[in-house]
Symmetry: none
Subunit: 327 residues, 2 copies
Amino acid sequence: MPPLPTPTPKELLMRVRKFIPPLLETMHKGQQGRVAVIGGSEDYTGAPFFSANASALMGADMSHVICEPQAAQVIKAYSPNIMVHPYMRQSHHREKGTDTAEEISTKIEEMLDRLHAIVIGPGLGRDSLMQDTAKLIIEAAKKKGMPFVVDADGLFLVQNHPSVVQNYTHAILTPNKAEFERLCKTMKIEPSHGDETEVCSRLAKAFGGVTIIQKGSKDYISNGKHTMVCDLKGGLKRSGGQGDTLTGCLVTFLAWKKAYQDRLWKHDNSLSDSELIALSAFGASAMTRNCSRLAYEKKGRALQAFDLSLEVGQAFKNLFESEDPKL
Amino acid sequence: MPPLPTPTPKELLMRVRKFIPPLLETMHKGQQGRVAVIGGSEDYTGAPFFSANASALMGADMSHVICEPQAAQVIKAYSPNIMVHPYMRQSHHREKGTDTAEEISTKIEEMLDRLHAIVIGPGLGRDSLMQDTAKLIIEAAKKKGMPFVVDADGLFLVQNHPSVVQNYTHAILTPNKAEFERLCKTMKIEPSHGDETEVCSRLAKAFGGVTIIQKGSKDYISNGKHTMVCDLKGGLKRSGGQGDTLTGCLVTFLAWKKAYQDRLWKHDNSLSDSELIALSAFGASAMTRNCSRLAYEKKGRALQAFDLSLEVGQAFKNLFESEDPKL
């Protein structure tokens, strides 16, 4: 028998639609998604905001940021819609003898029970206390079987401690070109050997079935067994911060995966857990590329990261609410 | 042989286009420019924001501000698109016995390796620790051969320590009328002797080939050897902060100079280093005047500095993306 033909982007997007929860009269606050972004430090406040804001604009009912106190003040000011919790600490800001990574993460772990999915890394920074705390939060999320996305300086953590995500098939890593190469180095994979699809697959396999979204002019998505390419038309500007729209869209899809599996509405339950994760990755990649395209058409070279956020609503309509996906 | 005719503004703008990097599918984040503005203090937060924001709207992929901590909180809140680092210190805010200019600048110097060009001065203020730190950063940038722009209270530094930029042909100073006169005084040049073009050229020569953009109803641009005048139509409102759009546009051009010299795309490599600096200065002057004109047509007397930012995208299209520059 010949191999089955690869589904087209439109076919994949039609399958993504199957687990987007309908907005029903009977639903109540929180059921469409409760998510959080762990990140935001002395140096970075835009990234966690873009991610949490994109998750809300995708449709999550409640979007949180958990970050360092000074970053919290700023992120709160970006938008009153996002709930921002100043629970993280950088080494040089903690009071003497207090605020260990364990104490900080314990407080945050209590929040995890009320959340469906999280992103770890946007604006996290490389401070050791921030990194140690993030590591403990990842370990807690794993114990709860919670899906999570690791990006930006969260990938720095994974690069230094690959075992923290290894074999956890509910983890998605979203490296850009440079981060991908560093992860390959950690896992002793030669990034120039083989075509991109194959290298991405080998990295996912080395991580024991973690899903990788390798961002670039095309996005390669693999969990080691199945690999997809998302090459929908995007914009041509590569300003910093566009990846945060990806993680925000992705974490909402992961929350919807749980809503689907909890049978929050009537459906045929035909999608498996690993298919739901793969479709989440594809859907988020398609959303980000469509946002980037729409924003670039308006702004051209002047495009900034926040311009992508402004397109999340329209991109969602294009891909998931028009009769036929508009790519 | 008669002297060659001076190129027209349109001819100059067509030459500027030669080193504006095309937006290619294959490019990745950062290649279109990584820039920073050093400034922002207790008293001034608008200036560094306008400058960094203009650099991003011109097309830099990553725009940073490095400033005093309290200014940082405010500048972050202006826009999540700009990365703001609270590394500078004012004398009366430093902790006892810590935070010397050397310590502060060492931290900032580490960032310079990841940047293509910087602006020193917007909102810097005249506090001695801020000035001393800026001086060390200039010296570090020179060692790395990095191009930089000095404006505002950065020019106060140059006025007191002219040797810090002297003979460094990758420095551009952007004085207004009062700052220009103070620089002339420092260099013992009589500003009323000779026409403006000639005085600007003499000042550039006294600084050993530094480029001067003397801002005014016409902008005079000289490196001592070559002098240009940019008299494209601008607005008639002279609100504070318009010069920050100039430095922001300029620093992105300087980042593109490096992209051009690194052969990031295929080109005929016909522009010399000094020509690239002169064209950067002319291009930034033209951009600022076009922004000022567009904003003034909309706002009239009510024009404020931020209105110029809103026109950067349109001005870029007018000058560099329409078939024939629209002045």
